[in-house]
Symmetry: C2
Subunit: 465 residues, 2 copies
Amino acid sequence: MSDTRRVLGLFFNPKSVAIIGASETPGKIGRVILENFAKKYKGAIYPVNPKYDEILGFKAYKSVREIPEKVDLAVIIVRAQLVPGIMDDLGAKGIRAAIIVSGGFSEIGEEGAILESQVREKALKYGIRVIGPNGLGIYNAETGVDTFFLPEERMKRPPPGRIALISQSGALAAAVLDWAAFKGIGISKVVSYGNKIDIDDVDLLEYFEHDDDIDIILFYVEGFKPSRGRKFIEITRRVVAKKSIIMVKGGKTPAGAMAATSHTAALAGTYEVLRAALRKAGVVEVESIDELFDASKCLLSYRELKGDRVAVITNAGGMGVLATDALYKKGFKIPRLSNELQSKLREKLPFHCVTVNPIDLTGDTDDERYRIVFEDILASAEIDAVVVIALFQIPTLTLRLADYIIEAKQKFGKPIIAVSFGGVFTAEFAKRLEKAGIPVYESPEKAARALRVLREYAFLKKRIH
Amino acid sequence: MSDTRRVLGLFFNPKSVAIIGASETPGKIGRVILENFAKKYKGAIYPVNPKYDEILGFKAYKSVREIPEKVDLAVIIVRAQLVPGIMDDLGAKGIRAAIIVSGGFSEIGEEGAILESQVREKALKYGIRVIGPNGLGIYNAETGVDTFFLPEERMKRPPPGRIALISQSGALAAAVLDWAAFKGIGISKVVSYGNKIDIDDVDLLEYFEHDDDIDIILFYVEGFKPSRGRKFIEITRRVVAKKSIIMVKGGKTPAGAMAATSHTAALAGTYEVLRAALRKAGVVEVESIDELFDASKCLLSYRELKGDRVAVITNAGGMGVLATDALYKKGFKIPRLSNELQSKLREKLPFHCVTVNPIDLTGDTDDERYRIVFEDILASAEIDAVVVIALFQIPTLTLRLADYIIEAKQKFGKPIIAVSFGGVFTAEFAKRLEKAGIPVYESPEKAARALRVLREYAFLKKRIH
């Protein structure tokens, strides 16, 4: 195991944590973070603040030097000017992992930049690895490590899941967590590394490669350090054998690139060079944060797509037409079914159903017609994936259709994704499907977009390995 | 008033309605429709069915000929073979408006096509105007005319609003109603005209032109009758002076066009010719059903956009970058603010805020910084519209920010749209804004897309008038 991986283990899964700048004052960052850890984290918690003997029931220490036990991780919240001195304490105590949440470094100008380089020097001197400064740090749904200093009533915490997010924007990461919790989407780990003076995307990727809790790694990036590009690509090529990496790049347009320069001083230009390389290495790029999660839903269910031939099965002709348009725009084929396959279907379906593709079961369909079509379509070699559209406003459909879809997925192993659009009853149907790992989308466009990411991932992975 | 307009008044706002094929049998279409009317419709209801003397407490008639009072609208639910005979009854009774919900006409083949032409001939002979057959008919939230034969537990009905929808797909229209009800979006009228043997888009547009309940007319179309193209464009040019028309076209790709042929036998090809003409006439085309409604939200609040220069105000740098990318892609400018304007802002804002554009108030902002920026930005001649991004995970923001945004809208009259992404607290904020007519979007991409439609509408309208 590389040293970086070992140290990152201390960040994500520490046996003990010192919270430097812990506070009892309501609303203060040092209080929110202590409360976060108190809620779920099972290891030892050592608040550090010379003003207190005890904070929220935990014995407090004047300095980490006084903590009698071993400390795996230090979380630093004190103001920037004090951080270099704190690094000396960490060095003396032999702490190897530090999340510096404090701001006031290079992002505020020259004075901060000097402090930042002092911190960097001390980190090197003592062999301390750093996440931050000026980031929200780490959220780990499994271990309860949570330095996101936003109180629960503002930012809900999502349940554990198989997705990791690395974000160059802290506020964006916080909003994503809150939203994921709201939607019930599981998240494993989120990292907001702020000014990124040490631990970076490459290190995190190297750690996540071996993290069995993670299947999908999401990135929001505005720019890369060119010096780390080669290494990033090298690791990516390895990682995509087992996991998918999906990226949103901020600052892709000239105007956006200007904005990114103000935001993170990212050199968006260098990305243009890196871009083809990233794709070659297996990174799938998407256009927005919601596409990131729509795509994740699909990739959590399916890892393979053998070809680009999709069958659309619908009870609403108009939705079938829109799905066909959307799939075609994403480069899929919606092939006319062979006469042989159509005859098979026509034998079993009422005569007014359309069997060409889209297969339109029409507005009077029952669950059974869908089942019949699944059997023949998914068994045939003509089709690689199925988009099922079920509008539940039609009273002849029941929730049993969900079971048919789930059975078909299990029996044939080809990707099936569903489109359902409506109200309460639709939500019920979607819930049942998603619980069984069938991704459901509100619109044909979103379904096509997600299927495109699956195809791209499967294609890139195959090309590499 | 044209005769078409007068007759369409009978469809949407009849004083009395005969329901031919009304039934007491639970689950039957004739029962669902009778129940729909019984719920909300204030006029006289005459169920017609020779098997009953009374249905659900209403006196039933053997034929419309027996109804002693005047009948404005007939709703026909009986099977196709009986419809020609029913048309004779309507003629004898002097009924001038009929919604034929029944299917079994040209959509099922030659036999049905013969019945359909018989119905058409009788309609002409007696001067009866027809919506349908094989469509869901009309939903009118104001008068309670509701021939959508889907029971409430499957398809919720939305509250009245200022949007009309004309859909070539019945199931799509039903799903939209259900979804709109779920989301609390108000709808005025929906028409599903099925095989469209008489009343068509042109007629409906002519009626909606003078309907004071409607500001926005949405279309889902797969194809137009070429013979009505000129008339459609002529009316559109008039309508867009007062109302906006937004259209989703199904079957725009080669694959989608094939699918549309199976669905509605629409000649998608002819659309290519019509397309430029439609735009010239003021129709704004969008790419999906959800864009239709995202755009409507914006157009319900704003009718004018003087130029394409947008200011982005954010408390999350990353979201500012993504919004800039999204706006740029839609053809907007995100101009660097003048030095003069920037100096003004810098005097009042903390030094670490970014004033270029996007204006990044950073993660520690309070409501007040937003207020300060609104005042100077919206008063300046440099900016035509504002996109406000407020991530509410930051505890220093309060719901007061919503009031500041509302005040700014009222004071300066320029379009302001908001982006907010997250959970419970965010929903609260969004609700308050939307109540006051500020459109809120979950992502910068959706906001940019909606603003694009506003720009397009304002531009096309100006060019025409």
